[in-house]
Symmetry: C2
């Protein structure tokens, strides 16, 4: 049995016909906003640039608007910044995901907070093997 207590992980993704926006795109956009470059953002996530480019273009195609825009020259020397729509999309997704996780944690306590007494095995009594004796019905 794991050392860490049972806990929920809630993932929120947005779809149109197919997946278009989830934790991966959000992490990329956060980094583009900070690093002003899609290449640096991908590198910071140990993600291939081609993959970063693909998931970003897919998101933009599904959403129907641009999330980042290229900059040529200037202070950031040909990097990328979030478009106003990209900024709003990222903010909305982050707030949505944060509140969904928080609601999920509360619901987890509601449904699983009462479980340990109902699950003697969780308390360390009995192992998986012993519990698996064929019951012969």
């Amino acid at each position: 049995m794991g050392e860490t207590k049972l806990h929920p992980v809630i993932t929120v993704r947005l779809y149109t016909d197919e997946k278009c926006f989830g934790p991966g795109v959000a992490m990329l956009l956060e980094r583009v906003d900070r690093l002003h470059s899609l290449r640096s953002a991908a590198m910071d996530m140990d993600m291939a640039y081609s993959k970063a480019w693909t998931i970003l273009r897919n998101a933009e195609r599904q959403l129907g608007f641009k999330l980042i825009s290229s900059t040529t020259g200037g202070r950031h020397g040909g990097g990328a910044v979030l478009t106003p729509e990209g900024e709003r999309m990222l903010s909305a997704y982050q707030a949505f995901a944060r509140e969904a996780r928080s609601a999920g944690e509360e619901l987890f306590r509601k449904h699983f907070g009462e479980l340990p007494p109902a699950f003697p095995a969780v308390q360390g009594a009995g192992g998986p093997e012993e519990a698996n004796a064929p019951d012969g019905e």
Copy 2:
């Protein structure tokens, strides 16, 4: 842009040290409960039996109790049924996931219901290409 309206997909998984219970295990258990066989359950999901066996054993190891128990002979002729703990776990997960999805949909409306006016491109104005002209900063 996709034909289908933007909508959320909320996934809930349970972890200890690592992932131990999510949609895949739940779908397997639902089918074991109905088909009285892990092999039939896996087949019904187009999942290799070896994979079904692995994710189930991993879940049991992480949780510290058995989710299914083998039956030898009897009415189901050597199949499998959910243990009482497996039944409770599945019920709790299903209720938890259902309510988390419902809460997530409400939160999605809160954060994205107001977006279309803020996203002219969503309404069909402007394409991704036009919006991507380098802005020269």
